[in-house]
């Protein structure tokens, strides 16, 4: 009987989102060997489908002071150690006519109690600095909110972890746990490309699978209680404000507009969902966001949106709570010892802003079990800048293109100015770790497909480039284009009106009208076949 191939490590981390990658870095910095397995790619879940907001904590001051304080202190730490991934834009909290006067009046006191700097700003002065604010604004406070690029954060965390010996296995999912008494002896995993299962033996296993943590824990027969809250966000065509703009009220729908490079990101919604399948933005969510956010930022009513996306918040505990917002945004750390397991940890829930802290707490528990006494270093050690992973930054493509593109270099994506050399660098970095680059991988690691054309043109140029480099062979290119545009489409269909509708029509004219991607694999029926032969 063939025994499956087998890998040994100290810690196996399940999930390559912001928590899992931060944990890999934390452990690697403490000298602990680890492997991250990720069923899809870095930040494929909620880690890559959020506002990109580094909370000052002010949003939670009234309802959840502990979370507010955590956000404040973590925000301060990340601004110091991961500055390259953060734009310290500052934020406004803005109330408009009709908003709860009591909340407005109490807000500065709440902030003070949580130690958050909130400065009242004259409404006219605020509107002079952020002209998109409604003339019906009645109160504005300035807080130290900032914008953070979660992709850069995770990619660079993983890059440093790897440089210290950690390993990432993408497109690999858990298929089962082998239990022996109070221990998980091995975790069986399978990659999307290999038919064969691999057994991973690890002294400790951390379930950092985000919204999928419940499924993973169930596989280990150590169930945890979790609910799912779907949130949808919209991406504007141009950037509407330079700061984070929050609605000054008790947290509700469409309260936040983030600056995200050349665009703004508006959201969110909160809908309880039962499964993680088929998560996509809907037209009614898009309408709700536009209509609600326009009360604070009227230009949104006529704004062109290029995209929408949905993520699922993993909320711990409290099954049956109707509104996900009433459930704590705090994280949860399970040691599973009362379920009879001594080497499984689950870390889930929480927020992007607190991902480092969540990793620290999980790593502390794991290290205690392993007898490792070295303390956490991530609060003080700067995250090294990795030149190969900085292509998610919106400004980098244009900047480098203007300053020093080589004589042979070409622009593959004209909306976001992604050059052939940037794609080459991304491919080289993927190959260096044994990965075969796909168009979707490149999209995740760069701005390809993120501009107004949503991939209609740059996908074709990038695929041609990859064939020319020898990265693509046989028929894979067409399928790569179809997969990539399909993924882009899931984020587009809810916001197709106005200009973006014309853009979508052009995409279909090109990819269906001319390239006939819709007919791949369609039977070539000879019309004579249904008549006489």
């Amino acid at each position: 009987m063939n025994s499956p191939s087998f890998i040994q490590t100290e810690v196996l981390i399940i999930g390559g989102g912001v928590t899992g990658t931060a944990l890999a870095r934390d452990l690697a910095l403490r000298g602990v060997a680890c492997i991250v397995i990720e069923k899809d790619d870095i930040n494929a879940g909620a880690s890559g489908r959020n506002h990109g907001l580094l909370h000052s904590g002010a949003r939670y001051v009234a309802g959840d002071r502990a979370a507010a304080i955590e956000c404040r202190s973590e925000g301060e730490i990340l601004k110091r150690v991961a500055a390259q991934a953060i734009q310290d834009t500052g934020g406004y909290f803005v109330a408009v006519e009709g908003d709860d006067e009591r909340y407005i009046a109490d807000f500065p006191t709440y902030c003070e109690r949580a130690g958050i700097m909130a400065r009242a700003v004259d409404v006219a002065a605020a509107r002079a600095l952020e002209p998109a604010l409604s003339e019906r604004a009645i109160a504005v406070f300035e807080v130290p909110d900032a914008s953070i690029d979660p992709f850069r954060l995770s990619l660079e965390s993983m890059a440093q972890a790897r440089s210290l010996g950690a390993r990432l296995m993408r497109r690999t999912r858990v298929t089962g746990f082998e239990r022996e008494g109070r221990r998980i002896r091995a975790v069986r995993v399978r990659s999307r490309t290999d038919a064969e299962e691999v057994r991973i033996e690890a002294a400790q296993i951390v379930n950092a699978a985000g919204a999928w943590a419940r499924e993973v824990a169930l596989l280990a027969a150590a169930p945890i209680e979790m609910t799912y809250s779907k949130g949808t966000l919209l991406v504007t065509h141009t950037r509407l404000a330079s700061r984070v703009v929050n609605r000054l009220r008790s947290p509700a729908n469409a309260d936040i507009m983030m600056p995200g490079g050349t665009v703004s990101i508006v959201g969110t919604t909160s809908t309880q969902v039962d499964t993680l399948d088929n998560i996509h933005p809907t037209t009614s969510e898009a309408d709700l966001i536009v209509e609600e956010a326009a009360r604070m930022l009227p230009a949104l009513a006529t704004m062109r949106f290029i995209r929408a996306y949905s993520g699922v918040r993993p909320l711990v505990g409290s099954a049956g709570v109707a509104d996900g917002r009433a459930v704590s945004r705090g994280y949860a750390l399970f040691d599973h010892e009362d379920q009879g397991l001594d080497n499984l940890v689950t870390i889930t829930g929480g927020k992007l802003t607190t991902c480092r802290l969540m990793a620290e707490r999980a790593a502390d528990l794991v290290c205690r079990r392993l007898g490792v006494t070295r303390a956490c270093l991530t609060a003080t050690t700067p995250l090294p800048v990795d030149p190969d992973t900085g292509w998610t930054e919106p400004g980098r493509g244009p900047r480098e293109w203007m300053h020093f593109h080589g004589p042979e270099d070409t622009l593959l994506c004209e909306c976001e100015m992604v050059s052939g050399s940037a794609v080459d660098a991304i491919c080289a970095a993927l190959r260096a770790t044994g990965d075969t680059p796909t168009l979707t991988d490149i999209g995740l690691r760069s701005r390809v497909g993120k501009g107004a054309c949503q991939g209609a043109f740059c996908s074709v140029r990038t695929v041609a480039h990859l064939y020319q480099r020898g990265d693509f062979q046989a028929r894979c290119g067409v399928n790569e284009i179809i997969d990539f545009l399909g993924e882009r489409w899931r984020g587009q269909h809810a916001v197709l009106w106005g200009e973006q509708l014309a853009q979508a029509e052009l995409m279909e004219a090109l990819h269906c009208g001319l390239f006939e991607e819709d007919l791949l694999g369609a039977p070539n029926v000879d019309s004579a076949g249904e008549k006489s032969p």
Binding site: H280, T282, T283, S284, A286, D287, V290, P407, E408, D409, T410, L412, F457, V460, R461, V463, A464, H465, Y467, Q468, F472, A474, R475, G477, V478, I481, I482, L485, G486, R488, W489, R490, H493, L496, W497, G498, L501, A502, A504, E505, L506, E508, A509, L510, C512, G513, L514, F515, E516, E517, D518, L519, L520, A522, P523, N524, V525, S527, A528, K531
Partner: protein
């Protein structure tokens, strides 16, 4: 308001894309005086291929080798489809007349025949179409004879970003083992990182560049029985450039259509402009219609224009304004509108139903079947189901009950509906005294 600058005509055509150009050609051929408003911008996205009807029904993704058989099935199963309402004789006449006009303007197409032909695309897929430019026909002939495993060389140029011969050869490799590829430097552009198809096309119209390019390709021929190149073989003098390549290389040479804005699209635009101009069609380039007013049932229409001096008075008006890309239709979050007159648009109940969640969903996106409803004379209908105005017509992709991108019938729709509507325009205008 000055009336002095107003021009009068029998028929004003709004929109200078494929449908508007075709309508102008056919109007002129019928002896109607015609003013064409618009700048032909959407033709920049044309591929140069003239689809008639390739797929029916969309949901079954059924491809047809014989488009006129497909039209019979379409007429039977989707009687509301614009192409289902035109008889085959008219469609043949429309295509013949259209292609003849292009030929007279220097853009030659292969004889239309009965079949759809297969052509290679720049991403290595195979597309079926009806009207194939002469410069691409050798490729279609090779695809017909794939069983004989013809040896063929594809050549591309370093720096032409959206075209990789390696990609096409790799994609088709399992079906076409003797398809080779080579990349060369485009003569005179060795220092350029990025090449643009239109620049190359113009450069190949100079004899020297052409000779140098042919000289670079010739040693690569080997046993190739044909050579495929990206569609850059000349613009206005494309016929001459193509012939020179075939003569110089001694084998059939074919172009492969590229992503828009493409050279074949530019050629089509130029040929149509020449053809309508040769027939005395007056143009209002770069003008958009600000207002369209009708004075009474039997009267005239007055078009107020932006971006052009003076208005236009016409006895009949044809809307050929296209869909969303062409700006004939516009949509906000709640509904789709006809842009100029607010003519009711047949559309799904709400935005939720406009698009499928999968881009390539086999049933197609419902929004693509939205559009104007017309009567038997191609006149758009008002909310009461009556003609919006007795001599207002609509042609091309703005019409409802079709999905040209999935049915592969864009040119067929434009040309055939223009032809059919112009029959009615001519008949109706003959029945009334000239204005």
């Amino acid at each position: 308001m000055t009336r002095a600058k107003q021009d009068s005509c029998d028929v004003a055509i709004i929109g200078a894309g494929m449908a508007g150009m075709a309508a102008a050609l056919f109007a002129a051929e019928r002896g109607l005086s015609c003013i064409l408003v618009g700048n032909g911008g959407s033709l920049l996205f044309a591929s140069g291929l003239l689809d008639l009807l390739g797929v029916h029904p969309v949901a079954e993704r059924r491809r047809w080798r014989l488009p006129y058989d497909a039209l019979v099935a379409l007429a039977r199963e989707e009687p509301l489809h614009p192409l289902a309402r035109i008889n085959a004789v008219s469609i043949r006449s429309a295509f013949q007349s259209f292609v003849a006009a292009l030929g007279a303007a220097g853009l030659r197409y292969a004889p239309l025949g009965e079949r759809n032909r297969n052509v290679l695309t720049s991403i290595g897929t195979i597309k079926a179409t009806h009207g194939v430019p002469i410069s691409m026909i050798a490729g279609a002939d090779l695809l017909d004879a794939l069983d004989a495993r013809p040896s063929c060389l594809l050549v591309d140029f370093r720096g032409l970003r959206e075209f990789s011969a390696a990609q096409i050869a790799a994609t088709l490799g399992d079906r076409w083992p003797r398809l080779r590829h080579q990349r060369i430097e485009f003569p005179g552009y060795e220092a350029a990182a990025e090449l643009y198809a239109a620049h190359l096309a113009r450069a190949l119209e100079t004899g020297k560049t052409r000779e140098r390019t042919i000289a670079l390709v010739k040693p690569l021929l080997g046993d190739a029985r044909a050579v495929g190149l990206p569609a850059v073989l000349g613009l206005a003098r494309a016929g001459e450039v193509h012939a020179a390549f075939e003569a110089g290389l001694g084998v059939p040479v074919f172009e492969i259509p590229t992503m828009p804005t493409s050279v074949p699209g530019l050629r089509l635009l130029a040929a149509l402009e020449a053809a309508v101009s040769a027939r005395g069609v007056r143009r209002r380039h770069h003008a958009t219609v600000r207002a369209l007013a009708f004075d009474g049932e039997g009267g005239t229409a007055t078009l107020a224009l932006d971006g052009a001096a003076g208005g236009v008075r016409a006895r009949a008006v044809v809307l050929a304004t296209g869909r969303f890309t062409g700006r004939g239709l516009t949509a906000d979050r709640r509904q789709i509108r006809e842009s100029i007159l607010g003519i009711p648009v047949h559309q799904p109940g709400s935005r939720e139903f406009w698009h499928q969640r999968d881009f390539l969903d086999a049933s197609g996106h419902a929004i693509n079947r939205a559009g104007l409803l017309v009567d038997e004379a191609w006149r758009p209908l008002d909310a009461g189901g009556e003609p919006f105005w007795p001599r207002l017509y609509a042609v091309g992709s703005i019409l409802a009950h079709q999905d040209w991108m999935r049915e592969k019938c864009g040119s067929g729709l434009a040309i055939s509906t223009a032809w059919a509507a112009m029959q009615h325009v001519a008949r109706q205008l003959r029945g009334t005294a000239a204005g």
